[in-house]
Symmetry: C2
């Protein structure tokens, strides 16, 4: 049986990465899509595992050949979701998880209307602010900017099929898995 | 100590009324605001309990005197939240719950920026549709229309301070109470 494709998105700081990491541990028929980027690898990042690290030239060729489900430029670097590996995985029966930025979702919804959208929300803006502040790595100005961005991202939530609140990482991952399993039946 | 004011809103069919009814049972320092309406009382409805039933003339006088926190016309009838009783209750130390339609919230946010907004979301559009269908009282056309309205209502969620998913009435009511109690500390 062919697998389904799930977009998991949410505002800046909601903890999407952590929830997805936990989700992947819960079920062996899930495959996480690997994104492509033109940014330089950070220490310890492995090509083909964390990202496909591409030159800007190669990235642009793939854009021209319609090789991405979505792509965007973000703080001077390009990011994209290569299409072919996603299709291959679903054909092998895996449910593929795309962990993407909110702004990439509209493109995917257009290219793959059968993909299911899951939107992760914080319990509140206060909580989101607390988490951003808790990282301890960002200036007040950056935190304000991120909260502003989060608002515009949450304003896109209505385009998604499912809503999950990340009040607790394990609970949120389990709720996402429930959604995925319901589509399998 | 003065109480706070909470707006609880959510899309058509999310089960707001049921959740609020459950919430009111959980804490004795909560007061439910009674709305005013020009629609005729339904069987069993009591003036001052379910609604303040007003003539259109009286309603319009109150609008002119800025007696409402918000008011709107909906399917030919006027609905509004009288301001004075809400203020009186908070001064007596009650936390006041306003169960309102999404379109009324912008007016309240403007008149009472200190009011906290809690937005109730369905787990998914599929689930919302199932609930609307489950009522068994509405035509297919009305269900489609309500789902369309729900989308535009969910698009307003980002204006609220807190997000709660109504996957289970008891759990949703308990989560709202947690939010309210956090503001009391």
């Amino acid at each position: 049986m062919k697998g389904n494709i799930y977009m998991i998105a949410g505002p800046s700081g909601v903890g999407k990465g952590t929830v997805v990491k936990q989700l992947m541990k819960l079920d062996e028929k899930l495959a996480l899509s690997v994104s492509a980027t033109t940014r330089a690898p950070r220490e310890g990042e492995i090509d083909g595992v964390n990202y496909y690290f591409l030159t800007r030239e190669k990235f642009e060729t793939m854009v021209a050949e319609r090789g991405f489900l979505e792509h965007a430029e973000y703080v001077g670097n390009c990011y994209g979701t290569p299409k072919q590996p996603v299709i291959d995985q679903t054909e092998k029966g895996f449910d593929v998880i795309l962990e993407i930025e909110v702004q990439g979702c509209a493109q995917i919804m257009e290219m793959l209307p059968e993909a299911k959208g899951i939107f992760l929300l914080p319990p509140s803006y206060n909580e989101l602010e607390k988490r951003l502040r808790g990282r301890g790595t960002e200036t007040e100005e950056k935190i304000s900017k991120r909260l502003e961005t989060a608002r515009t991202e949450i304003a896109q939530a209505y385009r998604f099929d499912h809503f999950v609140i990340n009040d607790d990482v394990d609970a949120a991952a389990a709720r996402i898995l429930d959604i995925i399993r319901e589509y399998r039946d």
